[in-house]
C-alpha cells in the first residue's frame, strides 16, 4: 500500500490498532541512578573544562570538544589542574543536578603524603566557597535542611563530596602483600588523577570521584571517611587499591575497577594499616 507524502489522513487514523498498542506499552521507567551519576559527573567535567578553556583558550571552547564528540568518545580523562574556581563551578553543577552523595572536592595536582591531604580537603572547600544550590534540584542535594538556605545546603553537599584522592602509582601489587603496598601508597608521592571525570572505558568507574565513593559505600566504608584510590594492578590484573581513613584508622582494600554498588568485587582486605 502506498501513501503519498501529502496524504491528508491524520496520523492518528490507524485502522490497524498498532498505534494504540504501542502507546499502551509501559514506559521504560526513569533513568537509572547510576547512569544519572555518570552523566552528572561527565557534565561537571565538561563544565570545568569549558571554564578552563574560557580562561585560557577561548577560541577552542566549543570546537575542540565537538571534535571529540564526533569521534564517538564519551568523555576522555584529561590532564587537569583543578583550581578553587573550577571546584566552585563543578560544585554548582552537581548541586543543580541534584546528585546527593556524589563526589566532588579539592585535590592538589600532586601530593606528598596523600592521606594528609585528605584531611585538609574540607578546609580547601571552605576557601573555594560554594555556589548556591538550585531550588529545582532534587531534595537529596539539599542536605535535608531547607530552612537553612541555599548556602548551608550547598555546604552540606560539598562536605559529602570531598575527601577522594585518586592516584596512578603504576605499581603491580600483590594481594598477599596488600598491607605493605597500601602503607607505601600512604607515604609516597604519586601523580594524582583528577577524580571528577566520567568513567573512562579503559579504567572504569573507580577512577571517578563518584565511582570511588560508590565503591567505598559498597565496602561499607563511612561516607565521612577519606578515600585514596590507586588505580593500578593487583595480582597481574587491572584493579585498584582503596585506602579509607576514618577517625585516624586506615583500612586497605584491593578491589576490581568495576567495584560499585552492591558489587564491591573485593580482591583482598579489609586490612587495618598501622
Amino acid at each position: 500500500m502506498t501513501h503519498l507524502h501529502d496524504d491528508p489522513t491524520p496520523v492518528e487514523h490507524d485502522p490497524t490498532g498498532m498505534r494504540e498498542l504501542l502507546a499502551s506499552l509501559p514506559d521504560p521507567g526513569p533513568m537509572p541512578e547510576d547512569l544519572v551519576a555518570r552523566i552528572t559527573a561527565a557534565l561537571a567535567e565538561e563544565s570545568r573544562a569549558a571554564q578552563g578553556s574560557l580562561s585560557s583558550q577561548a577560541a577552542r571552547v566549543v570546537h575542540a570538544p565537538l571534535a571529540a564528540a564526533d569521534a564517538g568518545s564519551v568523555v576522555p580523562l584529561r590532564p587537569h589542574r583543578p583550581t578553587l574556581r573550577h571546584l566552585g563551578v563543578a560544585a554548582a553543577v552537581v548541586t543543580a543536578i541534584g546528585l546527593g552523595g556524589a563526589a566532588l572536592g579539592a585535590w592538589p595536582s600532586s601530593l606528598t603524603g596523600p592521606i594528609a591531604a585528605l584531611s585538609e580537603a574540607s578546609s580547601a572547600d571552605s576557601e573555594a566557597g560554594a555556589a548556591p544550590a538550585a531550588p529545582g534540584a532534587d531534595e537529596s542535594s539539599k542536605g535535608g535542611d531547607a530552612e537553612a538556605g541555599a548556602g548551608v545546603s550547598d555546604l552540606s553537599a560539598t562536605d559529602r563530596l570531598d575527601g577522594v584522592t585518586i592516584v596512578m602509582s603504576g605499581a603491580e601489587h600483590s594481594s598477599d602483600a596488600l598491607a605493605a603496598a597500601a602503607s607505601a601508597l600512604v607515604t609516597t608521592t604519586y601523580p594524582t588523577v583528577t577524580p571528577l571525570t566520567a568513567e573512562a572505558p579503559g579504567i572504569g568507574p573507580i577512577a571517578t570521584a563518584i565511582g570511588a565513593r560508590t565503591c567505598a559505600d559498597a565496602l561499607g566504608i563511612s561516607p565521612d571517611a577519606g578515600i585514596l584510590v590507586d588505580v593500578s594492578e593487583v595480582d597481574g590484573a587491572p584493579a585498584a587499591v582503596l585506602i579509607a581513613t576514618d577517625g585516624g584508622a586506615r583500612t586497605a582494600y584491593a578491589v576490581s575497577r568495576s567495584c560499585t554498588t552492591r558489587s564491591p568485587m573485593l580482591i583482598a582486605g579489609p586490612i587495618a594499616l598501622p
Binding site: 500500500m1 502507546a23 509501559p26 563544565s47 564517538g72 563551578v89 538550585a134
Partner: protein, 230 residues
C-alpha cells in the same frame, strides 16, 4: 503551561530577567536560585552565555527520563541506550550554541539522542545484533503477568524487524507522543514522510504480530535484528 511553552522566552542575546549577574560575570557567581522557574529556552540561553553548567544541569534533570526512554526504545538495548544518552547530553552541552530556538528544546534534544542512538547502532554491528536479542530487549517488569511480558517481547521483536525509518517514526509518534511536525524535525525529513512511515510501519507491525482482533501472532521468526534501511 510548561516552562518551555512560556511566551517571551526566546533564545537570544537579550538578558534574562534574573541571574544576569551570573551571566556576565564570574561563572562561579551563579545566581542559581531561579533555574527551576526558567523555561527550557531560557535555560539554554543562560547555558550558552555561561553559567558554570547550572542551567544545563536543570535541563538534564527535567528531560533525562524522557530522553532515556527514547534511547531505550530506539536501541532496544539498555547498555547502548545508556551510552547513547550520555553521549547525547554531552553533545548537547557542547553544542548548545547551535540551538537557534526554532524548535522546542525537547525536540532538539530528541534529535540529538536519536542521532546518537543511530550512530551507536551503525558503528557497532555487534551491538546491533544484541539489539535483536530478545533477552536484552526492553526488559519486562517482573510484576508483569507472564502474558503481558510475552506480548511486550513480541511487540518489541516486531518493532526491531521494521526498517529503521518506520521504527523511528513509530517510536517518536506512537510511543513518545511527539507530533508529526516535531518528529519531522527530529528525523530531518518532511512531515509527509513521517506520516507515510507511520502508516507503513503500523501495517508492517500488524502483519508481523497479527491484528488486535484476537488472531494469533504470526511471522515472528527467531531473528529480530533491526533493519538499517528506512
Amino acid at each position: 503551561m510548561s516552562p518551555d511553552q512560556r511566551p517571551g522566552s526566546a533564545l537570544s542575546s537579550e538578558g534574562d530577567a534574573v541571574g544576569d549577574r551570573a551571566l556576565v560575570g564570574d561563572p562561579v557567581l551563579v545566581d542559581a536560585a531561579d533555574v527551576g522557574e526558567l523555561s527550557d529556552r531560557d535555560l539554554m540561553a543562560r547555558h550558552v552565555r555561561g553559567d558554570g553548567g547550572v542551567a544545563f544541569g536543570e535541563l538534564f534533570r527535567r528531560h533525562r527520563d524522557r530522553m532515556y526512554a527514547v534511547a531505550i526504545r530506539t536501541t532496544s538495548n539498555r547498555e547502548l541506550a545508556a551510552d547513547a544518552v550520555q553521549e547525547a547530553f554531552i553533545s548537547a552541552f557542547r553544542r548548545a550554541d547551535a540551538y537557534r530556538g526554532e524548535a522546542a528544546v525537547t525536540t532538539w534534544l530528541h534529535r540529538i539522542v536519536v542521532n546518537a542512538c543511530l550512530d551507536r547502532l551503525r558503528r557497532e554491528k555487534a551491538a546491533v545484533r544484541r539489539a535483536g536479542d530478545l533477552g536484552e530487549l526492553d526488559l519486562p517488569d517482573p510484576r508483569d503477568h507472564h502474558s503481558a511480558a510475552e506480548a511486550r517481547h513480541i511487540v518489541h521483536a516486531a518493532l526491531a524487524k521494521l526498517p529503521e525509518g518506520q521504527r523511528l517514526a513509530l517510536v517518536l509518534i506512537d510511543m513518545q507522543g511527539l507530533s508529526v511536525s516535531e518528529a519531522a524535525v527530529v528525523l530531518g525529513v518532511a512531515e509527509g514522510t513521517v506520516k507515510s512511515r507511520c502508516f507503513r510501519g503500523r501495517e508492517a507491525l500488524a502483519e508481523l504480530i497479527g491484528r488486535p482482533d484476537g488472531s494469533p501472532f504470526k511471522n515472528l521468526g527467531s531473528e529480530t535484528e533491526p533493519q538499517g534501511a528506512p
